[in-house]
């Protein structure tokens, strides 16, 4: 009973958000005036033959209802991309692992690093190093991914040539598993560095602010008075309480992160969802744009719902409240 009550609101919220997205994606094309299939593809790089045009038109303008549309979505029937000559779901699933690899690694690394640095900075509050660190992170927070990404590309890929400038792996290379891993890691370095530069400052500043507040509370004073070693006070007692704001803010930051990942992938031509979306937009390939947008949005929603769960695990007070 209790569990049901606790989960009802968030599940309902995210479910309605998903339905809003799906409905918008279902309804928007039909709201366009006139024969938009001809209009859209007239300015595109894709030339349609009569049969393809008919299939597109029926995809967008047939009389199927919303429930049927949802059923199609669930069964991976997301339409056909005439630009790439492949089903949308296939293209999406091909690109997805690369995005997950890039974003997942960037997120885990920047959270861990930001948390650790933030805690250490708060502990050394007032020192020269801490002030320099906070200043540097605030400046970094002001540099958008577009800018840092392009700069890294210019310097380390095009000018110095230390890292590959595009792609996720060497094409047609005859690699052993070890060589392949090195190759993938090399390709990953620059986009990953860009994303970490973008995510790290926020995590750092948040962890530091939380930690500074926690350090003033009485239980930390007690822990210190007991004569516990400083590292134990810092991590076992204080830091775990400073972790919470980092997790709560995750949901709010997630939409930003998706935007950043789209841009960064495009800059480095990384073959993930961002690049696929970029190409789909450039070629006005609407079913593909629709599929990518809808399913990335649903992934974001699922991730956020998951975070709510993690949050109650980390802070039992949340579960007991309300």
């Amino acid at each position: 009973m209790h569990i049901w009550k606790k989960w009802l609101t968030p599940v309902l919220v995210y479910l309605s958000a998903a339905l809003v997205m799906a409905y918008a994606s279902f309804r928007l094309p039909t709201l366009l005036p006139g024969d938009f299939v001809t209009a859209m593809y007239a300015g595109s790089d894709v030339t349609l033959n009569a049969e393809q045009e008919a299939s597109l038109r029926s995809f967008y303008q047939d009389t199927q209802g919303f429930p049927e549309y949802l059923h199609n979505l669930a069964t991976l029937d997301w339409g056909y991309s005439h630009a790439f000559m492949a089903p949308v779901s296939q293209l999406f699933l091909q690109a997805l692992p690369w995005t997950l690899l890039l974003m997942g690694t960037a997120h885990v690394l920047s959270t861990l690093l930001g948390f650790f640095l933030g805690v250490e900075a708060a502990w050394r509050r007032g020192s020269l190093m801490e002030k320099a660190g906070v200043g540097m992170m605030t400046v970094l927070e002001g540099i958008p991914e577009i800018c840092s990404g392009v700069l890294l590309l210019l310097v380390f890929a095009l000018s110095l040539g230390w890292f590959p400038a595009a792609g996720a792996q060497m094409a047609y290379a005859d690699h052993t598993t070890g060589q392949w891993l090195v190759d993938v890691a090399l390709h990953l370095t620059l986009p990953l560095a860009t994303l970490i530069l973008a995510y790290l400052p926020g995590n750092f500043l948040l962890a530091r602010a939380g930690m500074v507040m926690v350090l003033e509370s009485f239980f930390v004073v007690t822990a210190r008075a007991k004569g516990l070693p400083p590292r134990r006070v810092r991590y076992a007692h204080a830091a775990r309480n400073a972790l919470l704001p980092l997790v709560t803010r995750f949901g709010l930051r997630f939409a930003f992160m998706i935007t950043g990942a789209l841009v960064v992938e495009t800059i480095f031509s990384y073959p993930g969802l961002g690049t696929l979306l970029f190409n789909a937009i450039a070629m006005r390939d609407l079913p593909l744009v629709q599929g990518i947008v809808l399913f990335s949005a649903i992934m974001v929603l699922v991730a956020n719902l998951g975070m709510e769960y993690v949050y109650t695990l980390l802070d039992p007070r949340v579960g007991h409240a309300s």
Binding site: I146, V150, R208, F256, T266
Partner: protein
């Protein structure tokens, strides 16, 4: 909230730096188009020229003067940010105040709606809108505002709820002040610092979003925007154009977002009593 915030904020180096950057860029955006010698849409110059006395930053692939293009792009990006920031703030303040003052089921409805809108990844909605309808940037800015109000509404509602139970509001009610009077005369002005923080944060987010959307190719390719300029310049990376074509929009965009970040961080520090201690 009746404290000497003005004096404090004037001494914060972050605020001074941030606001100076923003004022400088604001001046460029307002006056720049009258100062630059060429029309940014004029394609009559020879394309891809390096910088010269006539064209300080050279010309782009279409034979347009890059300096003129830069100034107009900055203006468009700033207009987008301010439009989205203002509209988002107004929407958020209205819904937040209404929610706090009305209470009961109206409050519940508005706040649950806010939850749903907050859960929507706004960039995805904007991409969908832009891909299908190709709206003008102003419409996109307003759409962004419609997706960005919940954070403001939540903050305003929380503050208004504590204010609602304070003595002077109770007194005003006892003396017969109507709801509208109390909201306009007491609640709204007292939350002023909150508006500043939210406006700065929203504008920053909108500028970032505009650059990203333009960069992804979702704006009319004829528009002038910093994101679009970076997109175009990057296609010619193999030519030696990075210092006169690629870097200027990158620098301006970074400065713009940095200025807004400094101001936001500084305002948050000074007006949030909990964060104040952490400075």
């Amino acid at each position: 909230m009746h404290l000497d915030m003005g004096g404090q904020i004037g001494k914060d180096p972050w605020f001074i730096t941030g606001i100076s950057i923003l004022l400088l860029l604001g001046f460029l955006a307002v006056a720049g188009p009258f100062l630059v010698p060429y029309d940014p849409y004029d394609i009559s110059f020879s394309p891809l020229d390096p910088p010269s006395a006539d064209h300080w930053l050279g010309t782009n692939d279409g034979g347009m003067d890059i300096l003129s293009e830069l100034v107009f792009s900055l203006r468009n990006t700033v207009i987008f940010g301010i439009t989205a920031g203002t509209a988002g703030l107004v929407l958020g303040v209205i819904t937040g105040l209404f929610s706090a003052w009305a209470g009961g089921w109206a409050d519940q409805v508005v706040m649950r709606l806010a939850d749903v809108v907050l859960a929507l990844p706004s960039v995805m909605v904007l991409i969908l809108l832009a891909a299908f309808f190709q709206p003008s940037p102003v419409v996109l800015a307003l759409a962004l505002a419609c997706l960005a109000w919940p954070t403001t509404a939540r903050g305003v509602r929380a503050q208004a709820l504590t204010l609602k139970n304070s003595l002077h509001i109770k007194a005003a009610q006892r003396m017969g002040g109507s709801g509208r009077y109390i909201i306009a005369r007491h609640l709204m002005p007292e939350l002023f610092p909150l508006y500043l923080i939210n406006f700065a944060a929203k504008t920053r987010m909108a500028v970032f979003m505009e650059a990203s959307l333009a960069f992804l190719g979702l704006f009319d390719p004829g528009e002038k925007s910093l994101g679009l300029m970076i997109n175009y310049a990057l296609q010619y990376y193999y030519l030696d154009i990075w210092y006169n074509w690629l870097m200027p929009p990158i620098l301006l965009l970074s400065l713009l977002i940095m200025g807004a970040t400094f101001v936001t961080v500084s305002l948050e520090k000074i007006f949030d009593p909990r964060l104040r201690k952490t400075v």
